[in-house]
């Protein structure tokens, strides 16, 4: 009896577990579930290491025999300055000044399901840039090829050393951990024809700045062991929390139909909860930032509501927002499946909405990156650009088109406006095309082109084809390509199909003329009303033959020869295409009797003229009066009026006068 009592007692003492397992929202797989992971990992807070055991269950979904696997070892990007990432990533902050600050990942052992040790055959390869010192891609030859449709299992032991936070991953301070790209992660095998592949191939690029990630969907069962007292947040759904005798605890998470798994741990987190429909929203916030709680939660709910309504259903039951401490700001503003990091903000004015913008942006990535899993390395625009577009839309919808980003003391600016300005204000907007792979941006501009230019041309497309059509394009694209890996061409095909269906040939046979310029080209759009002239009509003067064939001189003094003319004025509106992008346009012309005429111009020629012979004078002309073509880098020169309004100039000149006097009188503070 005592023996039994001891056994029962030991059970309670050695581990106390709480089960949180939730019912799955779906009783079927949403994705192909090609790469599935069961990982058990322990965090060593002293050494800043993760010791893990990984069971990879991988299905060969291609018609090819697979004779090798390729893995991403992302943390090796932070191993030394010879990695491709650090050679090109000086913009990611200072390098560590102590041994503890560097990060790396070692695959200690890898075995196939038959127990064959594959470790001796492992080698680092460098498929992207040929840098032989880079260790972010590992090739593992297999003893036995994996047949088409066959599923294989691999046991992998690994140790990951977390760096001081760089490119969102690592540790900072005594006990803040943001753990991403932390385990050996298999690449994507693309069969012939998939994403333009001419033959079956591994798509497993080295880690390069601004190129992020690309992975197959799967199910992740992850057990994370951390010191007790740490609050853990992770992708997916919490299954169980178990306290261990050695002062640690193990939390188990399950994430289904996702492309990655990220987690965080810190004893400082305060947990806030909210709910939108059946989605549990969990905010892990630093105590000093709790003033931002409502900003985080409300903006998340806004984004959930908007994306659900206009794009498609959010299929997961959880969403976690991690608020980093100020010293961990390097991990802020990043997206992972069902988990994002926000922007740490101590006290921030209600009208300054950076926290909301970042939260919305990262949430939208749950659609474009996580569910529609395009290749973030080769076609960054497909996730970052689309996300920027929806960030602008959501922000402008909930917080005002002209005030969504900042609304403080009369100074207002919209998120969409700022996005546009990022592109239109570029010193060289022709630096590269949106479709340029991340590693081909040699002279900068990648963020603006991939994020903001894409967001801007999507907004332009929205205004050209109408927001309802644009929504149909996006809904079709989402439904057709969720839980798959689309390319830019796939999106363009959807756009052409929907626009043709909705508008017929209104925009030509397809919209390739548009995408060729904005996605694959570097053309810049700038149209201008060059001049308006109104000349009093007079009879022709000079030498004319009369009915008898005799020459007769006629000039203005011949009053009797003046005929009444219907048109008193000959008015010319001269338009100019300053940029090299060609877009069909509407031109709005107004006359001095208030009459208005809407003209169209194909926008192709360098100059175009509208001529009117009417009793009225042209007062103003306005190219693209509804501002559909937001890509036009100077909207101010799109219009011209003969009756200028001098009040705004007077107003701003008087403001400048006031500010200038204030600036001068401010010198009184010094003497």
């Amino acid at each position: 009896m005592i023996r039994y009592a001891l056994i029962v007692g030991c059970f309670f003492i050695t581990s106390i577990s709480i089960s949180y397992a939730q019912k799955a929202k779906w009783d079927r797989a949403l994705s192909p579930r090609i790469a599935n992971y069961d990982i058990s990992v322990t965090l060593d807070t002293a050494a800043k290491t993760l010791t893990g055991k990984e069971l990879l269950t991988w299905r060969n979904d291609s018609p090819d025999e697979i004779e090798e696997l390729r893995f991403h070892l992302y943390l090796n990007a932070y191993k030394n300055t010879e990695s491709t990432f650090l050679k090109n990533g000086s913009r990611f902050g200072r390098l560590p000044d102590d041994e503890l600050g560097w990060g790396w990942m070692d695959v200690v052992k890898i075995e196939d399901e038959d127990g064959n040790d594959l470790t001796p055959g492992m080698e680092f390869i460098h498929p992207t840039d040929g840098n032989k010192e880079d260790q972010t891609v590992l090739r593992v030859p297999l003893r036995k090829a994996i047949d088409p449709g066959e599923t294989a299992e691999f046991n992998i032991d690994f140790i990951s050393k977390l760096p001081r936070i760089i490119a969102r991953t690592g540790f900072e301070g005594e006990h803040y951990y943001f753990v991403v790209q932390w385990f050996p992660k298999v690449g994507v095998y693309e069969e012939k024809g998939e994403r333009g592949a001419e033959e079956g191939r591994w798509n497993c690029h080295q880690f390069i700045p601004y190129t992020e990630f690309y992975a197959d969907f799967g199910v992740y069962n992850v057990e994370i062991t951390v010191p007790q007292g740490y609050v853990v947040g992770a992708s997916g759904v919490l299954q169980e929390e178990q306290k261990n005798m050695n002062g640690t605890k193990t939390v188990s998470y399950r994430a289904e139909d996702v492309i990655d798994f990220a987690w965080t741990a810190s004893p400082d987190f305060e947990e806030k909860k909210d709910k939108w429909k059946d989605v549990d929203i969990r905010l892990l916030i630093q105590p000093e930032h709790k003033g931002s709680t409502e900003k985080y939660l409300q903006s998340t709910k806004n984004a959930l509501e908007y994306m659900d309504k206009y794009v498609g259903e959010y299929p997961y039951t959880t969403f976690t927002i991690v608020d980093p401490p100020i010293y961990g700001i390097g991990s802020s503003g990043m997206e992972y499946p069902t988990l994002i990091t926000g922007l740490p903000a101590f006290t921030i004015h209600e009208g300054v909405r950076q926290v909301e913008m970042v939260t919305i942006h990262e949430f939208v990535h749950q659609y474009f990156m996580q569910m529609v899993a395009s290749n973030e390395q080769e076609e960054v625009w497909l996730d970052e650009g689309f996300t920027t577009y929806y960030e602008n839309r959501i922000a402008d919808h909930y917080y005002g088109e002209k005030s969504s980003e900042v609304d403080v003391g009369g100074y207002k600016r919209g998120d969409g406006e700022v996005s546009r300005l990022n592109y239109t204000g570029m010193s060289n907007p022709r630096v590269a095309a949106c479709a340029t792979p991340g590693w081909d941006f040699k002279i900068g501009g990648e963020r603006t082109i991939m994020y903001h230019k894409t967001g801007l041309w999507l907004k332009t497309l929205e205004r050209m084809v109408g927001i309802e059509t644009l929504d149909k394009i996006m809904q079709t694209y989402f439904e057709r390509w969720k839980f798959k890996h689309p390319t830019g061409t796939d999106f363009i095909d959807v756009a052409n199909e929907v626009v043709k269906r909705e508008h017929g040939d209104k925009f030509g046979g397809d919209l390739n003329w548009f995408f060729d310029q904005v996605v694959y080209g570097t053309q810049v759009c700038d149209y201008k009303v060059r001049s308006i002239s109104n000349r009093k009509q007079t009879d022709p003067i000079g030498m004319f033959e009369n009915a008898n064939g005799k020459k007769r001189w006629r000039d203005r003094r011949d009053e009797e020869d003046y005929a009444d003319k219907a048109a008193d004025y000959r008015s010319r509106v001269l338009l100019e295409r300053v940029g090299d992008m060609i877009v069909p346009l509407e031109v709005f012309v107004r006359f001095d009797n208030g009459e208005e005429v809407l003209e169209t111009w194909d926008g192709e020629s360098r100059n175009h003229e509208f001529v009117y012979e009417r009793p009225e004078k042209v007062v103003s002309a306005h190219i693209d009066p509804e501002q559909k073509i937001l890509m036009d880098i100077d909207l101010n020169n799109n219009s011209l009026t003969k009756e200028p309004d001098d009040e705004p100039i007077l107003k701003w000149a008087s403001k400048v006068l006031f500010w200038m006097q204030n600036a001068l009188q401010s010198t009184f503070f010094f003497f």
């Binding site: 301070g173 630093q286 000093e288 401490p325 100020i326 010293y327 740490p344 101590f346 006290t347 002209k402 009369g410 100074y411 207002k412 600016r413 919209g414 406006e417 700022v418 546009r420 300005l421 239109t424 204000g425 103003s620 306005h622 880098i633 100077d634 909207l635 101010n636 020169n637 799109n638 219009s639 011209l640 009026t641 003969k642 200028p644 309004d645 001098d646 009040e647 705004p648 100039i649 007077l650 107003k651 701003w652 000149a653 008087s654 400048v656 006068l657 006031f658 200038m660 006097q661 204030n662 600036a663 001068l664 009188q665 010198t667 009184f668 503070f669 010094f670 003497f671």
Partner: protein
């Protein structure tokens, strides 16, 4: 030396120097115009005929403004570089003019004289420039000690050690009021040093600053209270402006012109508050000197008896009349001083 009386006397003395006030304001206004008028020209030439410009009338429009700056920023950059050199040049000019300003307050009972003003500007420029340099040094030392101290003590000299933004908040809550107090106190001592250097006609900037510091510490509550009243008046002027601005709007020509007048008045009175402070310091200084050195009265009386500078009768009469209302609040000692004040003011240029 009732500080309220001193404060109002500072104001009344400034109004008596209205011409100086007006001329100084016109200088600032004209300098402002040298930026505002070309700015209006650039706007008119570049986007004046665009329909988009009307979006700038009801409020700031980020798109119109940034497109304007993108396309025509090079023309604006000429103006911004003009502003960049104009501000330090004006500071130098203000240091130069300060001699005349302080001298005019010191000789308030003789009215404003252009010749005296300009002569004092020239005479005190180098002394005041050195005082300016010392003041900047003191202000810099105070700021460095406060914030540098917090940086090194609180963060160990490395922002990497920052564990929470509450460090900035908590430190700011403590340091900012201290800094504001010390900065305004140093500025006030600077004003008293200017007054002392003019009234005593001394060259030794640091010594006079030390003496003024001692005096301000001895009469801390009176001197600083008057200075605070001047600052409060300045804050009040801006509060009134911020209250009126949204009500007026600037969305039509009439409203723009009204706002232009309001803004001009705000600038005029902002300059006024600076002059009020110097005027008050001048009055307070005289009061303190008289209190601490009653023998000065006798000494001066002897000089006066020697017939060096007879006090003009009309000014005396005017001053007596003006101060009659305020004098009720003076204590007996102050009352006595008021009568002698005209004797103290005898020495406008005899010593030069």
């Amino acid at each position: 030396m009732n500080p309220i009386i001193v404060f109002f006397k500072g104001i009344s003395h400034t109004f008596r120097l209205f011409l100086m006030w007006l001329l100084l304001f016109l200088l600032i206004f004209v300098l402002g115009l040298t930026v505002a008028v070309p700015f209006a020209g650039v706007m008119e030439e570049s986007i004046g005929n665009s329909l988009e410009i009307s979006k700038l009338l009801p409020a700031y429009d980020h798109t119109v403004w940034t497109d304007f700056m993108n396309a025509h920023g090079d023309k604006i950059s000429g103006l911004t570089s003009q502003v960049r050199w104009m501000i330090p040049v004006f500071l130098l000019a203000y240091i130069f003019l300060s001699g005349g300003i302080v001298k005019s307050f010191a000789t308030i009972h003789e009215g404003f004289s252009h010749q005296r003003f300009m002569a004092a500007c020239t005479k005190y420029f180098w002394r005041f420039f050195r005082l300016f340099a010392w003041l900047m040094l003191f202000q810099g030392i105070v700021a460095a000690l406060l914030y540098g101290g917090a940086y090194f003590i609180g963060l160990g000299g490395d922002f990497g050690n920052l564990r929470s933004e509450s460090f900035f908040s908590n430190t700011g809550k403590i340091l900012l009021p201290i800094h504001l107090f010390l900065a305004t106190f140093i500025a006030m001592v600077g004003d008293y040093t200017k007054v002392r250097m003019v009234k005593e006609d001394t060259w030794f900037v640091l010594r006079e600053f030390g003496r003024s510091l001692g005096m301000c510490l001895r009469y801390f509550f009176r001197t600083y209270f008057v200075y605070l009243l001047d600052i409060a008046l300045l804050v009040g002027v801006y509060a009134l402006y911020l209250f009126l601005a949204p009500k007026i709007g600037m969305t039509g020509k009439a409203a723009i012109l009204i706002m232009l007048i309001v803004q001009t008045l705000v600038m005029f009175f902002r300059l006024g508050t600076r002059l009020f402070a110097i005027g008050s310091a001048s009055v307070m200084y005289d009061g303190i000197q008289r209190k601490e050195n009653p023998q000065i009265v006798e000494e001066i009386s002897e000089e006066e008896r020697a017939g060096i500078t007879p006090v003009p009768a009309p000014i005396v009469a005017k001053e007596e009349q003006e101060s009659a209302d305020l004098d009720d609040e003076f204590d007996e000692e102050d009352q006595q001083y008021n009568e002698r004040e005209h004797i103290v003011d005898w020495t406008p240029y005899q010593d030069e």
